[in-house]
Symmetry: C2
Subunit: 293 residues, 2 copies
């Protein structure tokens, strides 16, 4: 309930305890993120295997190397991020341990404040009671006077009212005295709680910045992998692929017919089937029509 | 085997067929990547739920909103990428269908070339046989001459050698004739195959560029999400968190004691426990010590 005398202390004390929860939750969050990244990395390795398992035949085949390399690098980037996040979890846990120690020490230090809070509750209760009593006595006093009651009864009422006033006065005094102590101690504890809270938030922000920094670094690396992929695709021209294929699959390197000239010794028998398979100057290299047996 | 007469045509024909495989494999690769991105997106949504399920108590609580929002946005980025990649798979499949049609048409167009390749095989075999025969007849002719054999035998051998020379000559003539046809047809088919191959590679590169473009776009978006996260963390100062907490959890907004002044009507009883909980000017707002019941 708001405004209850001891709620301020309770709120601050429990908030300190919530600090431990937030540290644990941050660790859990980062652990989950690390697991996600590790999983993504594994998927990328699988994708890389898919690329390297692709057909090695045909002109397109060399492109799969570009996919494979890129996927492997992406897998590495995300694995590296998972590794960094796991390091961060260790830092968070370490901080969590320190936090528990600080809270334990603080709990001892604020025991006096808790006591004075309870004293304040008592003093406040007494004060309210005394006030009520004094108020009722005054009403009684007034009623008797108005009713012109017997002098004896009026004096009795006056006496009771005076005593109630004295009790009220001493309750106020006690309340003020306890109040001063309460104020001093609460001031001290509140300052302590506030310092702990500020330290906690600062530390949490340091940890979050480390998280953010790791993710940012990985993001830059991933960007480089994409750029590399794009460049590699760009650099692997259609002509290059056709040439590579011709070099690999070509059935001979010499112009068809040249060898036949050794075999066929009748002059007019020269066979010259000019290699005509591929354009782009690869004609002679390909030699698909070579007649060498 | 290299240099076999028909291998050039076979290599080119089969390479065309491999083009269909590479299209299918690209679709499978992109499908796998889309699945990975979708999965990552789901994991990020889970992470977002983890953030929103974190403790709402304590000064750190509002930070979880930053984590939640960031995770949600990352989930969206990756889901959007998965969606784009699924669109791309449709484009690849559509191209694959067109490719099958082109290959079917080409297969019909190159039937003539396949026939002439077979004719070349036959002609070449005949040519080699005729050459061997002519060579052996010449040796026999020479042997008989050296041994000064009977004129009848020599004439017989001369006769055989002449016939073998004629047969050889006509084989060469046939080989040349078929060779010319072969050259013409192969030239035509090779050009066809090369065009198909170049078109295929160009089309594959267009599809890969679309893949690369989608990934790049997502990468930029993810970078913005990270930047936003960093800014949000930066902008949420320790003091803001403490103030927010005080506003939310404060047990009152007025300086403790003010209300007591109404209750306690004896002049010197004013209670003034100055709210001392939080520094940073939040003192009065917090009012944790407020005595209002």
């Amino acid at each position: 309930m708001q405004g209850e005398r001891n709620s301020g202390f309770d709120v601050l004390y429990h908030n300190m305890k919530h600090g431990q929860i937030s540290t644990k939750e941050l660790a859990e969050f980062v652990r989950e993120r690390a697991a996600i990244e590790e999983n993504y990395s594994k998927s990328m390795s699988k994708l890389s295997k898919m690329a390297s398992g692709s057909s090695q035949l045909g002109t397109f085949a060399p492109m799969w190397d570009i996919f494979r390399i890129s996927s492997d690098k992406l897998a590495l980037c995300h694995l590296e991020l998972a590794r960094k996040l796991n390091d961060l979890i260790r830092d968070i846990s370490k901080y969590g341990d320190e936090q528990v120690k600080v809270h334990r020490k603080t709990k001892e230090e604020v025991t006096g404040t808790l006591e004075v809070v309870q004293m304040m509750q008592v003093a406040s209760g007494q004060l309210h009671k005394a006030k009520e009593c004094y108020y009722n006595r005054c009403l009684e006093q007034e009623r008797l006077r108005k009713e012109a009651a017997a002098q004896k009864d009026v004096e009795k009422a006056d006496n009771k009212a005076r005593k109630a006033a004295e009790s009220f006065s001493s309750s106020v005094e006690k309340f003020n005295r306890v109040g001063e102590e309460f104020e001093r101690k609460m001031n001290e504890s509140a300052q302590k709680f506030q310092n702990i809270e500020e330290c906690h938030l600062r530390q949490m922000k340091v940890l979050i910045k480390s998280y953010s920094h790791s993710i940012e670094n990985t993001h830059v690396q991933i960007g480089q992998v994409h750029e590399e992929f794009k460049q590699n695709v760009e650099n692997t021209g259609t002509d290059t692929l056709v040439r590579r294929f011709a070099e690999q699959k070509g059935t001979g390197r010499e112009r068809p017919g040249t060898d036949m000239e050794h075999i066929i010794f009748q002059s007019n028998m020269g066979v010259s089937h000019n290699g005509c398979i591929m354009e782009l100057g690869v004609l002679e290299k390909v030699g698909i029509l070579n007649l060498k047996g």
